[in-house]
Protein backbone atom coordinates (compact mmCIF):
# COMPACT_ATOMS: atom_id res chain seq x y z
CA UNK A 1 0.00 0.00 0.00
CA UNK A 2 2.81 2.36 0.99
CA UNK A 3 4.63 1.90 -2.32
CA UNK A 4 1.43 2.69 -4.24
CA UNK A 5 1.00 5.90 -2.24
CA UNK A 6 4.58 6.88 -3.10
CA UNK A 7 3.87 6.08 -6.76
CA UNK A 8 0.73 8.24 -6.91
CA UNK A 9 2.46 11.02 -4.99
CA UNK A 10 5.25 11.01 -7.61
CA UNK A 11 2.73 11.21 -10.48
CA UNK A 12 0.91 14.10 -8.78
CA UNK A 13 4.25 15.87 -8.21
CA UNK A 14 5.12 15.54 -11.91
CA UNK A 15 1.70 16.90 -12.82
CA UNK A 16 2.24 19.87 -10.47
CA UNK A 17 5.60 20.56 -12.08
CA UNK A 18 3.86 20.73 -15.47
CA UNK A 19 1.13 23.01 -14.07
CA UNK A 20 3.22 25.49 -12.15
CA UNK A 21 6.52 25.69 -13.99
CA UNK A 22 5.83 27.37 -17.35
CA UNK A 23 7.71 26.18 -20.42
CA UNK A 24 8.27 22.63 -19.08
CA UNK A 25 5.38 21.17 -21.07
CA UNK A 26 6.34 22.31 -24.54
CA UNK A 27 7.65 18.95 -25.80
CA UNK A 28 6.53 16.38 -23.28
CA UNK A 29 2.93 15.58 -22.34
CA UNK A 30 1.92 15.83 -18.68
CA UNK A 31 0.48 12.81 -16.82
CA UNK A 32 -2.98 14.34 -17.31
CA UNK A 33 -2.41 14.64 -21.09
CA UNK A 34 -1.44 10.98 -21.22
CA UNK A 35 -4.48 10.02 -19.16
CA UNK A 36 -6.74 12.04 -21.50
CA UNK A 37 -5.15 10.30 -24.48
CA UNK A 38 -5.82 6.96 -22.79
CA UNK A 39 -9.52 7.80 -22.26
CA UNK A 40 -9.80 8.97 -25.86
CA UNK A 41 -8.14 5.80 -27.16
CA UNK A 42 -10.36 3.65 -24.97
CA UNK A 43 -13.47 5.30 -26.42
CA UNK A 44 -12.14 4.79 -29.94
CA UNK A 45 -11.05 1.23 -29.19
CA UNK A 46 -7.93 1.39 -31.38
CA UNK A 47 -5.35 0.88 -28.67
CA UNK A 48 -7.28 -2.05 -27.22
CA UNK A 49 -6.85 -3.96 -30.45
CA UNK A 50 -3.13 -3.14 -30.39
CA UNK A 51 -2.89 -4.42 -26.80
CA UNK A 52 -4.68 -7.63 -27.74
CA UNK A 53 -2.41 -8.15 -30.77
CA UNK A 54 0.74 -7.57 -28.72
CA UNK A 55 -0.47 -9.85 -25.93
CA UNK A 56 -1.30 -12.58 -28.43
CA UNK A 57 2.17 -12.38 -29.96
CA UNK A 58 3.97 -12.28 -26.64
CA UNK A 59 1.90 -15.15 -25.24
CA UNK A 60 2.48 -17.46 -28.20
CA UNK A 61 6.21 -16.66 -28.48
CA UNK A 62 6.74 -16.89 -24.72
CA UNK A 63 4.87 -20.17 -24.29
CA UNK A 64 6.80 -21.70 -27.20
CA UNK A 65 10.07 -20.54 -25.59
CA UNK A 66 9.09 -21.91 -22.16
CA UNK A 67 7.96 -25.33 -23.36
CA UNK A 68 11.13 -25.80 -25.38
CA UNK A 69 13.71 -24.17 -23.06
CA UNK A 70 12.66 -25.82 -19.78
CA UNK A 71 12.75 -29.50 -20.87
CA UNK A 72 15.93 -28.92 -22.90
CA UNK A 73 17.64 -27.25 -19.92
CA UNK A 74 16.57 -30.01 -17.51
CA UNK A 75 17.80 -32.70 -19.91
CA UNK A 76 21.11 -30.81 -20.36
CA UNK A 77 21.40 -30.63 -16.57
CA UNK A 78 20.84 -34.38 -16.38
CA UNK A 79 23.04 -35.50 -19.28
CA UNK A 80 26.57 -34.21 -19.51
CA UNK A 81 26.82 -35.56 -23.07
CA UNK A 82 23.73 -33.66 -24.24
CA UNK A 83 24.94 -30.55 -22.43
CA UNK A 84 28.35 -30.75 -24.14
CA UNK A 85 26.55 -30.91 -27.49
CA UNK A 86 23.89 -28.21 -26.92
CA UNK A 87 25.72 -25.65 -24.77
CA UNK A 88 28.16 -24.34 -27.45
CA UNK A 89 25.19 -23.49 -29.70
CA UNK A 90 23.40 -21.78 -26.83
CA UNK A 91 26.49 -19.79 -25.86
CA UNK A 92 27.00 -18.78 -29.49
CA UNK A 93 23.43 -17.61 -30.08
CA UNK A 94 22.71 -16.12 -26.64
CA UNK A 95 24.67 -12.85 -27.05
CA UNK A 96 22.89 -11.95 -30.31
CA UNK A 97 20.15 -9.41 -29.46
CA UNK A 98 16.69 -10.50 -30.67
CA UNK A 99 16.38 -7.24 -32.62
CA UNK A 100 19.34 -8.31 -34.78
CA UNK A 101 17.27 -11.30 -35.91
CA UNK A 102 14.49 -9.13 -37.37
CA UNK A 103 15.79 -9.17 -40.97
CA UNK A 104 16.29 -12.93 -40.79
CA UNK A 105 12.82 -13.36 -39.26
CA UNK A 106 11.23 -11.30 -42.08
CA UNK A 107 13.13 -13.34 -44.68
CA UNK A 108 12.09 -16.61 -43.06
CA UNK A 109 8.50 -15.82 -42.05
CA UNK A 110 7.49 -12.64 -43.93
CA UNK A 111 5.97 -9.54 -42.33
CA UNK A 112 3.15 -11.32 -40.48
CA UNK A 113 2.73 -12.53 -36.92
CA UNK A 114 5.08 -15.48 -37.37
CA UNK A 115 8.08 -13.15 -37.45
CA UNK A 116 6.96 -11.60 -34.17
CA UNK A 117 6.51 -15.02 -32.55
CA UNK A 118 10.03 -15.90 -33.65
CA UNK A 119 11.55 -12.70 -32.23
CA UNK A 120 9.65 -13.11 -28.94
CA UNK A 121 10.73 -16.75 -28.79
CA UNK A 122 14.39 -15.75 -29.15
CA UNK A 123 14.05 -13.02 -26.53
CA UNK A 124 12.52 -15.35 -23.95
CA UNK A 125 14.29 -18.63 -24.72
CA UNK A 126 17.80 -17.83 -23.51
CA UNK A 127 17.03 -16.44 -20.04
CA UNK A 128 14.60 -19.30 -19.40
CA UNK A 129 17.10 -21.91 -20.60
CA UNK A 130 20.03 -20.42 -18.69
CA UNK A 131 18.18 -20.22 -15.37
CA UNK A 132 16.58 -23.67 -15.67
CA UNK A 133 19.94 -25.19 -16.61
CA UNK A 134 21.63 -23.50 -13.66
CA UNK A 135 18.93 -24.95 -11.40
CA UNK A 136 19.33 -28.45 -12.80
CA UNK A 137 23.13 -28.49 -12.43
CA UNK A 138 22.83 -27.13 -8.87
CA UNK A 139 21.12 -30.31 -7.63
CA UNK A 140 23.07 -31.32 -4.50
CA UNK A 141 25.05 -34.56 -4.71
CA UNK A 142 23.11 -35.90 -1.73
CA UNK A 143 19.90 -36.06 -3.82
CA UNK A 144 21.73 -37.84 -6.64
CA UNK A 145 23.07 -40.34 -4.12
CA UNK A 146 19.62 -40.87 -2.61
CA UNK A 147 18.22 -41.54 -6.10
CA UNK A 148 21.02 -44.06 -6.80
CA UNK A 149 20.59 -45.86 -3.48
CA UNK A 150 16.82 -46.14 -3.78
CA UNK A 151 17.21 -47.19 -7.45
CA UNK A 152 14.88 -44.41 -8.62
CA UNK A 153 14.32 -44.64 -12.39
CA UNK A 154 15.72 -41.98 -14.73
CA UNK A 155 12.25 -40.78 -15.72
CA UNK A 156 11.16 -40.33 -12.09
CA UNK A 157 14.50 -38.71 -11.27
CA UNK A 158 14.11 -36.16 -14.08
CA UNK A 159 10.41 -35.42 -13.61
CA UNK A 160 10.04 -35.59 -9.83
CA UNK A 161 13.45 -34.65 -8.47
CA UNK A 162 15.44 -32.62 -11.01
CA UNK A 163 12.44 -30.68 -12.34
CA UNK A 164 10.97 -29.80 -8.95
CA UNK A 165 14.35 -28.89 -7.49
CA UNK A 166 14.89 -26.56 -10.47
CA UNK A 167 11.41 -24.99 -10.28
CA UNK A 168 12.43 -21.84 -8.32
CA UNK A 169 15.20 -21.25 -10.89
CA UNK A 170 12.76 -21.90 -13.73
CA UNK A 171 10.39 -19.24 -12.40
CA UNK A 172 13.25 -16.76 -12.12
CA UNK A 173 14.01 -17.49 -15.78
CA UNK A 174 10.34 -17.14 -16.74
CA UNK A 175 10.11 -13.75 -15.03
CA UNK A 176 13.24 -12.49 -16.77
CA UNK A 177 12.03 -14.16 -19.98
CA UNK A 178 8.63 -12.43 -19.99
CA UNK A 179 10.36 -9.04 -19.69
CA UNK A 180 12.73 -9.91 -22.51
CA UNK A 181 9.84 -11.26 -24.62
CA UNK A 182 7.91 -8.03 -24.18
CA UNK A 183 10.95 -5.89 -25.06
CA UNK A 184 11.72 -8.01 -28.12
CA UNK A 185 8.11 -7.84 -29.28
CA UNK A 186 7.95 -4.06 -29.14
CA UNK A 187 11.23 -3.86 -31.08
CA UNK A 188 9.81 -6.27 -33.68
CA UNK A 189 6.55 -4.33 -33.96
CA UNK A 190 8.39 -1.04 -34.38
CA UNK A 191 9.87 -2.42 -37.57
CA UNK A 192 7.86 -5.18 -39.09
CA UNK A 193 4.21 -5.10 -37.96
CA UNK A 194 0.91 -3.46 -38.86
CA UNK A 195 -0.58 -3.68 -35.37
CA UNK A 196 0.43 -3.91 -31.71
CA UNK A 197 1.78 -1.44 -29.17
CA UNK A 198 5.13 -1.09 -30.97
CA UNK A 199 3.27 -0.20 -34.14
CA UNK A 200 1.04 2.19 -32.12
CA UNK A 201 4.13 4.05 -30.84
CA UNK A 202 5.74 4.13 -34.28
CA UNK A 203 2.56 5.44 -35.95
CA UNK A 204 2.04 8.18 -33.36
CA UNK A 205 5.69 9.19 -33.55
CA UNK A 206 5.18 9.86 -37.27
CA UNK A 207 1.96 11.76 -36.46
CA UNK A 208 3.83 13.78 -33.79
CA UNK A 209 1.27 12.65 -31.18
CA UNK A 210 3.74 12.45 -28.31
CA UNK A 211 0.92 11.99 -25.79
CA UNK A 212 0.01 8.74 -27.57
CA UNK A 213 3.68 7.74 -27.78
CA UNK A 214 4.02 8.13 -24.01
CA UNK A 215 0.67 6.36 -23.55
CA UNK A 216 2.06 3.43 -25.56
CA UNK A 217 5.17 3.39 -23.36
CA UNK A 218 3.09 3.51 -20.18
CA UNK A 219 0.88 0.67 -21.42
CA UNK A 220 3.96 -1.43 -22.18
CA UNK A 221 5.22 -0.84 -18.65
CA UNK A 222 1.87 -1.59 -17.02
CA UNK A 223 1.24 -4.75 -19.05
CA UNK A 224 4.81 -5.95 -18.43
CA UNK A 225 4.31 -5.36 -14.72
CA UNK A 226 0.98 -7.25 -14.74
CA UNK A 227 2.52 -10.20 -16.60
CA UNK A 228 5.39 -10.43 -14.09
CA UNK A 229 2.89 -10.28 -11.20
CA UNK A 230 0.84 -13.05 -12.80
CA UNK A 231 3.97 -15.19 -12.96
CA UNK A 232 4.71 -14.41 -9.30
CA UNK A 233 1.21 -15.57 -8.34
CA UNK A 234 1.67 -18.73 -10.43
CA UNK A 235 5.05 -19.27 -8.78
CA UNK A 236 3.57 -19.11 -5.27
CA UNK A 237 0.71 -21.38 -6.28
CA UNK A 238 3.08 -23.91 -7.89
CA UNK A 239 5.48 -24.20 -4.97
CA UNK A 240 3.44 -24.63 -1.78
CA UNK A 241 6.44 -26.20 -0.01
CA UNK A 242 8.31 -22.89 0.13
CA UNK A 243 7.84 -20.73 3.24
CA UNK A 244 5.45 -17.81 2.78
CA UNK A 245 7.19 -14.64 1.75
CA UNK A 246 9.89 -16.47 -0.24
Amino acid sequence: MKKWLIFFFTIITIQLVFLFIPGKNIFLPSPLDVFSAFIFQLRQGGVLLDIVMSLKRVTIGFVLAAISAVPLAILCGYSRRLSDFIKPFIELLRPIPPIAWIPIAILLFGLGDKSSYFIVFLGAFFPIFTNAYFGAVSLPVVYKNVAKSFEISNVIFITKILFYFSLPYIFTGLKIGIGMAWMSLIAAELIGAQSGLGYFIQLNRLLLRIDNVVLGMVLIGVIGFILTRLLTVLEKFSMPWLPKGK
Binding site: N145, K148, F150, I152, F165, P240
Partner: protein, 242 residues
Amino acid sequence: MLKLNNITYSYNQNSANPDLLLQNFNLEILDGEFLSLVGPSGCGKTTLVNIIAGYLKPFGGSIIIDQTVVISPGKDRIVINQESDLFGWMTVLENMEIVSQDEVLIEQCLRLTHLSDFINYYPRQLSGGMKKRLSLARALAANPKFIIMDEPFGSLDNQIKEKLHEEVLKIVKQSKKTILLVTHDIEEALFLSDRILLLSGKPVIIKKEIKIPFNYPRDASLKDSAEFIRLRSSMRQAINHG
Protein backbone atom coordinates in the same frame (compact mmCIF):
# COMPACT_ATOMS: atom_id res chain seq x y z
CA MET B 1 26.91 -60.23 6.36
CA LEU B 2 28.66 -57.21 4.83
CA LYS B 3 32.38 -57.61 4.34
CA LEU B 4 35.01 -55.11 3.23
CA ASN B 5 37.97 -56.93 1.74
CA ASN B 6 41.30 -55.13 1.43
CA ILE B 7 39.73 -51.81 0.50
CA THR B 8 42.26 -49.25 -0.74
CA TYR B 9 41.29 -45.71 -1.62
CA SER B 10 42.90 -42.38 -2.35
CA TYR B 11 41.48 -39.09 -3.59
CA ASN B 12 44.52 -38.62 -5.82
CA GLN B 13 44.98 -42.18 -6.96
CA ASN B 14 46.35 -41.19 -10.36
CA SER B 15 49.36 -39.37 -8.94
CA ALA B 16 52.76 -41.04 -8.54
CA ASN B 17 52.54 -40.94 -4.74
CA PRO B 18 48.87 -41.36 -3.90
CA ASP B 19 47.96 -40.16 -0.45
CA LEU B 20 46.16 -43.30 0.74
CA LEU B 21 43.11 -42.77 2.92
CA LEU B 22 42.36 -46.48 3.13
CA GLN B 23 44.93 -49.23 2.63
CA ASN B 24 43.90 -52.88 2.66
CA PHE B 25 41.11 -52.02 5.06
CA ASN B 26 39.02 -54.95 6.28
CA LEU B 27 35.71 -54.94 8.11
CA GLU B 28 32.86 -57.34 8.82
CA ILE B 29 29.35 -56.34 9.82
CA LEU B 30 27.28 -59.21 11.13
CA ASP B 31 23.59 -59.59 10.32
CA GLY B 32 21.34 -57.81 12.78
CA GLU B 33 24.12 -56.05 14.68
CA PHE B 34 24.44 -52.35 15.43
CA LEU B 35 28.05 -51.49 14.67
CA SER B 36 29.53 -48.05 15.21
CA LEU B 37 32.68 -46.64 13.67
CA VAL B 38 34.06 -43.93 15.92
CA GLY B 39 36.90 -41.67 14.94
CA PRO B 40 37.95 -38.04 14.88
CA SER B 41 36.63 -35.70 12.17
CA GLY B 42 38.55 -36.02 8.93
CA CYS B 43 39.84 -39.56 9.54
CA GLY B 44 37.99 -40.92 6.50
CA LYS B 45 34.73 -42.17 8.03
CA THR B 46 32.52 -40.53 5.40
CA THR B 47 34.77 -41.82 2.61
CA LEU B 48 34.28 -45.29 4.02
CA VAL B 49 30.50 -44.75 4.06
CA ASN B 50 30.57 -43.57 0.45
CA ILE B 51 32.54 -46.64 -0.58
CA ILE B 52 30.21 -49.04 1.25
CA ALA B 53 27.18 -47.24 -0.24
CA GLY B 54 28.68 -47.58 -3.72
CA TYR B 55 29.03 -43.83 -4.38
CA LEU B 56 32.83 -44.09 -4.56
CA LYS B 57 34.73 -46.86 -6.32
CA PRO B 58 37.67 -48.19 -4.28
CA PHE B 59 41.12 -48.21 -5.80
CA GLY B 60 41.46 -51.85 -4.74
CA GLY B 61 39.57 -54.51 -2.81
CA SER B 62 35.92 -55.47 -2.78
CA ILE B 63 32.63 -55.12 -0.91
CA ILE B 64 30.84 -58.40 -0.39
CA ILE B 65 27.25 -58.79 0.76
CA ASP B 66 26.23 -62.38 1.43
CA GLN B 67 28.94 -63.82 -0.87
CA THR B 68 28.09 -61.39 -3.68
CA VAL B 69 30.46 -58.62 -4.72
CA VAL B 70 28.63 -55.30 -5.01
CA ILE B 71 29.94 -52.47 -7.17
CA SER B 72 27.13 -49.92 -7.35
CA PRO B 73 24.60 -48.31 -4.98
CA GLY B 74 21.45 -50.28 -4.31
CA LYS B 75 18.38 -50.69 -2.16
CA ASP B 76 20.20 -53.24 0.01
CA ARG B 77 22.31 -50.44 1.62
CA ILE B 78 20.56 -47.17 2.41
CA VAL B 79 22.46 -44.18 3.77
CA ILE B 80 21.01 -41.65 6.22
CA ASN B 81 23.10 -38.49 6.04
CA GLN B 82 23.91 -35.74 8.50
CA GLU B 83 22.56 -33.10 6.12
CA SER B 84 18.90 -33.35 5.18
CA ASP B 85 18.44 -35.66 2.22
CA LEU B 86 14.66 -35.40 2.20
CA PHE B 87 13.00 -33.99 -0.89
CA GLY B 88 11.78 -30.61 0.36
CA TRP B 89 9.12 -30.25 -2.36
CA MET B 90 7.45 -33.54 -1.45
CA THR B 91 5.17 -34.18 1.51
CA VAL B 92 6.03 -36.85 4.08
CA LEU B 93 3.91 -39.37 2.18
CA GLU B 94 5.37 -38.42 -1.21
CA ASN B 95 8.90 -38.78 0.21
CA MET B 96 7.94 -42.34 1.14
CA GLU B 97 6.08 -43.16 -2.07
CA ILE B 98 9.01 -42.23 -4.30
CA VAL B 99 11.08 -45.07 -2.78
CA SER B 100 8.42 -47.73 -2.32
CA GLN B 101 5.12 -48.71 -3.89
CA ASP B 102 4.22 -50.97 -0.99
CA GLU B 103 1.45 -49.01 0.75
CA VAL B 104 1.23 -51.40 3.67
CA LEU B 105 4.96 -51.19 4.33
CA ILE B 106 4.87 -47.37 4.02
CA GLU B 107 2.07 -47.21 6.56
CA GLN B 108 3.97 -49.54 8.91
CA CYS B 109 7.16 -47.47 8.65
CA LEU B 110 5.27 -44.22 9.28
CA ARG B 111 3.54 -45.74 12.28
CA LEU B 112 6.83 -47.09 13.63
CA THR B 113 8.40 -43.63 13.40
CA HIS B 114 5.28 -41.86 14.76
CA LEU B 115 4.75 -39.86 11.58
CA SER B 116 1.33 -41.19 10.55
CA ASP B 117 -0.37 -37.95 11.55
CA PHE B 118 2.00 -35.81 9.48
CA ILE B 119 1.72 -37.37 6.02
CA ASN B 120 0.68 -34.09 4.36
CA TYR B 121 3.43 -32.04 5.97
CA TYR B 122 6.42 -30.76 4.01
CA PRO B 123 9.87 -31.43 5.54
CA ARG B 124 10.30 -27.74 6.43
CA GLN B 125 7.22 -28.04 8.65
CA LEU B 126 8.82 -30.85 10.69
CA SER B 127 11.21 -30.50 13.63
CA GLY B 128 14.83 -31.66 13.34
CA GLY B 129 14.02 -34.91 15.16
CA MET B 130 10.97 -35.61 12.98
CA LYS B 131 13.06 -35.08 9.85
CA LYS B 132 15.53 -37.71 11.05
CA ARG B 133 12.66 -40.07 11.84
CA LEU B 134 11.33 -39.50 8.31
CA SER B 135 14.77 -40.29 6.85
CA LEU B 136 14.72 -43.50 8.89
CA ALA B 137 11.14 -44.30 7.84
CA ARG B 138 12.06 -43.77 4.19
CA ALA B 139 15.10 -46.02 4.56
CA LEU B 140 12.97 -48.73 6.19
CA ALA B 141 10.35 -48.42 3.41
CA ALA B 142 12.95 -49.59 0.90
CA ASN B 143 13.36 -52.70 3.06
CA PRO B 144 17.18 -52.65 2.96
CA LYS B 145 19.45 -55.22 4.57
CA PHE B 146 21.78 -52.52 5.89
CA ILE B 147 21.16 -48.98 7.05
CA ILE B 148 24.25 -46.80 7.10
CA MET B 149 23.99 -43.72 9.30
CA ASP B 150 26.61 -41.05 8.63
CA GLU B 151 26.61 -38.77 11.70
CA PRO B 152 22.82 -38.55 11.46
CA PHE B 153 22.34 -36.77 14.78
CA GLY B 154 25.18 -34.27 14.33
CA SER B 155 22.96 -31.30 13.56
CA LEU B 156 20.55 -31.80 16.48
CA ASP B 157 20.71 -30.26 19.94
CA ASN B 158 21.44 -32.52 22.92
CA GLN B 159 17.89 -32.84 24.27
CA ILE B 160 16.41 -33.87 20.92
CA LYS B 161 19.41 -36.10 20.26
CA GLU B 162 18.94 -38.06 23.51
CA LYS B 163 15.25 -38.61 22.90
CA LEU B 164 15.91 -39.61 19.30
CA HIS B 165 18.60 -42.11 20.34
CA GLU B 166 16.04 -44.04 22.39
CA GLU B 167 13.45 -43.89 19.61
CA VAL B 168 15.88 -44.93 16.88
CA LEU B 169 17.17 -47.79 18.97
CA LYS B 170 13.61 -49.04 19.55
CA ILE B 171 12.78 -48.76 15.84
CA VAL B 172 15.89 -50.50 14.51
CA LYS B 173 15.66 -53.32 17.04
CA GLN B 174 11.99 -53.80 16.13
CA SER B 175 12.78 -53.81 12.41
CA LYS B 176 15.77 -56.17 12.94
CA LYS B 177 17.94 -54.25 10.46
CA THR B 178 21.73 -54.28 10.43
CA ILE B 179 23.02 -50.81 11.24
CA LEU B 180 26.36 -49.18 10.60
CA LEU B 181 26.66 -45.89 12.48
CA VAL B 182 29.51 -43.51 11.74
CA THR B 183 30.04 -40.90 14.43
CA HIS B 184 32.61 -38.96 16.41
CA ASP B 185 30.32 -38.93 19.47
CA ILE B 186 31.56 -41.59 21.92
CA GLU B 187 28.47 -41.43 24.14
CA GLU B 188 26.13 -41.85 21.18
CA ALA B 189 28.05 -44.89 19.94
CA LEU B 190 28.14 -46.47 23.42
CA PHE B 191 24.43 -45.99 23.95
CA LEU B 192 23.33 -47.34 20.56
CA SER B 193 25.78 -50.06 19.58
CA ASP B 194 26.41 -53.77 20.01
CA ARG B 195 30.00 -53.26 18.91
CA ILE B 196 32.26 -50.25 18.39
CA LEU B 197 35.36 -49.93 16.25
CA LEU B 198 37.68 -47.04 17.04
CA LEU B 199 39.31 -45.69 13.92
CA SER B 200 42.36 -43.52 13.55
CA GLY B 201 45.18 -42.50 11.33
CA LYS B 202 45.73 -42.04 7.66
CA PRO B 203 45.46 -44.61 6.14
CA VAL B 204 42.61 -45.58 8.41
CA ILE B 205 43.20 -48.44 10.83
CA ILE B 206 40.97 -50.10 13.40
CA LYS B 207 42.62 -49.11 16.63
CA LYS B 208 40.38 -50.92 19.06
CA GLU B 209 37.27 -53.11 19.06
CA ILE B 210 34.81 -52.81 21.94
CA LYS B 211 31.91 -55.19 22.55
CA ILE B 212 29.12 -53.38 24.40
CA PRO B 213 27.78 -55.37 27.35
CA PHE B 214 24.45 -53.53 27.79
CA ASN B 215 21.15 -55.27 27.15
CA TYR B 216 18.14 -53.93 25.28
CA PRO B 217 15.93 -52.02 25.75
CA ARG B 218 18.16 -49.15 26.82
CA ASP B 219 17.11 -45.78 28.18
CA ALA B 220 18.89 -42.53 29.04
CA SER B 221 19.54 -43.63 32.65
CA LEU B 222 22.10 -46.10 31.25
CA LYS B 223 24.41 -43.15 30.67
CA ASP B 224 24.69 -42.64 34.43
CA SER B 225 25.73 -46.24 35.16
CA ALA B 226 29.29 -46.93 36.38
CA GLU B 227 29.99 -49.34 33.49
CA PHE B 228 28.90 -46.77 30.90
CA ILE B 229 31.10 -44.08 32.47
CA ARG B 230 34.06 -46.51 32.66
CA LEU B 231 33.70 -47.50 29.00
CA ARG B 232 33.32 -43.87 27.95
CA SER B 233 36.54 -42.80 29.66
CA SER B 234 38.45 -45.82 28.36
CA MET B 235 37.31 -45.00 24.81
CA ARG B 236 38.23 -41.35 25.28
CA GLN B 237 41.69 -42.39 26.45
CA ALA B 238 42.11 -44.76 23.53
CA ILE B 239 41.23 -41.98 21.08
CA ASN B 240 43.35 -39.29 22.71
CA HIS B 241 46.45 -41.30 23.59
CA GLY B 242 46.54 -44.05 20.99
